[in-house]
Symmetry: C2
Subunit: 456 residues, 2 copies
């Protein structure tokens, strides 16, 4: 069967790439009004394509934003069901002058296909779609049940996705979710992402005098809201990068020696990263390696701060936009309570402090002992000649947290992107070798999937 | 002679006020290009007026900005010479809808004249000009030498004034400078300002990664420039409002018990001020009263701070705009050296810090034992029935520091403004009683001035 799929791939490869180019030509940028038509065209393009492959049910689901493409093929209730998630929307292109070839005129150079969305997510999604096509070609039907959901607003935080999940909940019932929208550790080291940090975002607003005051007249007599804000912020973290909010680390699951050993084996070159980022040295919580700090340690980060101007004034107000990244088993609402308590106990004299929560997401950890997770890890051996490593990511992917919260099934993140692919930047690309290796990896995964679920 | 002047005042009062209204009708706002013509008209108006009074020499001195009006009347080298400083430019009017009557259509309501510039400085300057007119009317000539300089850029920091002073230095030689451009302590408590704080302004620029980084991916791994900036700022001041930069207070002249006693006698109501400013309580350096903190203690004030935005990023840069108010005998260049040393010793890991000095002024203290200072204090008894108090001001008046630095003669700050006169705000006004009381105060001062300088 695998040989058969390989043969089909080599026969159809050229057409697959041509179809992907057609997909990439649609400038389906989300979040900007002048691309609304393109976004609808992209949804239409996918729905037609899935119908052509043989999906008996396809629907363009209208939302209050961009539509979601949903297709379903139930071959037998005895067979396992995979829920494939992807997205057809892309990021804005930014400064056009930085692109070697126009972002919506896909071009192949040095074995890479260059276009906005080439990696994120059209190219990776195309592996799934063409593989489903090949499976149908080989067998006349799919060997398992597929529910495919293609989002049109992933790049703007999927604001309408949760209500879609809720209204289609029963219909979307599946054994696991499969997503190819993350990057591998490096070109020659595949990886499966098994953890994401959660998020808690809030603003700290410090109010002092009812209007800006001249700093000559009042300097020394009233608390300056900026001083008060920095005193408060400074009280939350020490010089060694450790968060000093009481009980903040209480719920953090300690890292096992095994995990720690694995992370240390990744050979991260701090000096090289520092050079790439343009900083004199990396910096983070004392006692943890860079990877540990990024993946399994919580943070408090001031994303923005503002107050006053460049006149000689004492400003009336100062504001900081703060986000915490959370790790298992921290919960955003609980951490927010700790922060509220801390602020109450540490409010500087002479000002009023207000906290405003604006975003939250729970951390996600995959059940790595689940057989489908083990299968995902092994599958890369067929595509890349090397088993994948478990990795975590420092960020938060809202869709993953929504899916995990809604269904309680494993979310398998088998990414084929590269950290060097300029995702969201100019000259985004996707290596054609990754298209092929990814295709082979997933074909092995799909063929062996049935065994896993029959043994359960 | 004083009676004679009083009679002239009552005879001419109506005309004086009408002339002042004409002056106030000229919208001589400095620093905005669409008032360049008005600024020139105001200078012309003053020059003509001074000529009409009898000044044998008047000049509209061109600068690279707004012109300066200069007039000179040397009656005898035996007589004392007073250098009168004032300014004809005014602040922008701000939100017009907040004005009860239009800012450039002077209107008298409840005994106050309402207009932009009514107090600052046209109204107060008009006391001098009409009094010179009355002296000439009484005697046919002035009883002392006058050099009058009227600035057109005071409200924008007098950027061209120092070079004017330097080129007219010999011509401007005088016994003392007289300025009426400050406020009295209150309506029924006149005061003479005998001290101004100095200024040192600088930006602290903290650079981290060469571009903004996603806080998910890099949060915890690199120093956040905002965190570094607040750590650095926080290291400069403690919770009790005391500046913690090494040697910062070394040059501060200790306050005498006498001064302290006088300041305490001012009966400042902290709670009332807090209520007026809209803060829960006043706050400042531990161990000093509010007035002491405002007048004779140095400060470090963050006037503005900025960095990042409300996205989930680690920003590339964060900047603070900082000013210190300095007191005798602190010198801005010396304090800046201390700050440079402090920054060097306290730069947080993982970032680069740059300091950029942008303003400096020495503190000013009047020679209160000089007879002309004593005379100024006594003069208020004639106008207000009460001797003036020595007060200091927390701010810095660049012109005063330029004059003091250039001539080394006493700068006599006999203000007739009120703290409640909405200077720089909407509905600026000047009480006509203060015009009259100020006029009488200055007439006593001028008539008695000769005695002082003959006795020297």
């Amino acid at each position: 069967m695998l040989n058969e799929l390989d043969l089909i791939f080599h026969k159809e490869k050229e057409r697959y790439i041509e179809d992907l180019k057609d997909f990439l030509r649609i400038p389906s940028v989300s979040g900007v009004s002048n691309h609304i038509g393109d976004v609808r065209n992209a949804a239409q393009f996918l729905a037609s394509h899935l119908k052509k492959i043989g999906f008996p049910y396809t629907e363009i689901v209208q939302t209050s934003g961009n539509p979601i493409v949903f297709a379903e093929w139930i071959v037998s209730i005895e067979k396992p069901t995979v829920f494939i998630y992807g997205h057809y929307d892309v990021q804005p292109v930014g400064d056009l002058s930085l692109w070697v070839s126009p972002p919506f005129e896909p071009e192949i150079r040095n074995g890479n296909i260059y276009a906005r969305g080439a990696s994120d997510n059209k190219g990776q999604l195309w592996i799934h779609i063409t593989l489903l096509d090949a499976l149908v070609k080989a067998k006349g039907s799919l060997p398992f049940n597929v529910k495919i959901v293609i989002d049109g607003e992933e790049e703007i935080g999927s604001p309408n996705f949760l209500s879609f999940l809720k209204s289609y909940k029963e219909r979307l019932d599946a054994d696991f979710v499969l997503i190819s929208d993350t990057a591998m550790l490096s070109e020659d080291q595949p990886s499966v992402c098994v953890g994401l940090r959660g998020l808690l975002g809030f603003d700290i607003i410090v109010d002092g005098p009812s209007k800006d005051l001249p700093s000559g007249l009042y300097g020394g007599a009233v608390q300056n809201p900026i001083h008060a804000l920095i005193e408060l912020l400074q009280s939350m973290k020490d010089k060694h990068g450790r968060i000093t909010i009481n009980d903040f680390y209480n719920e953090v699951v300690p890292i096992t020696n095994q995990e720690r050993k694995e992370m240390r084996s990744l050979h991260v070159d701090d000096e090289k990263i520092a050079e790439q980022l343009g900083v004199p040295a990396l910096f983070g919580e004392f006692g943890f390696s860079t990877v540990e700090r990024q993946w399994i340690r919580p943070t408090i980060e001031i994303n923005g701060i503002s107050g006053g101007n460049n006149q000689t004034i004492i400003p009336s107000r100062a504001v900081a936009h703060v986000t915490c990244r959370l790790v298992p088993n921290q919960r955003p609402e609980q951490v927010f309570e700790l922060i509220q308590r801390h602020v109450l106990q540490n409010t500087p004299a002479g000002v009023r402090v207000t906290l405003k929560k604006h975003s939250e997401a729970c951390p996600y950890v995959a059940p790595i002992n689940h057989p489908v997770m083990q299968l995902a890890k092994q599958a890369y051996t067929y595509g890349y000649g090397k088993e994948a490593l478990w990795i975590r990511a420092g960020g938060s992917i809202p869709v993953v947290e929504m899916l995990a919260g809604c269904f309680g099934i494993p979310i398998v993140l088998m990414g084929f992107g590269l950290p060097t692919a300029n995702v969201h930047g100019p000259n985004e690309h996707f290596p054609l070798t990754n298209f092929e290796k990814g295709w082979r990896t997933l074909s092995w995964f799909f063929i062996n999937m049935e065994k896993v679920f029959c043994n359960l």
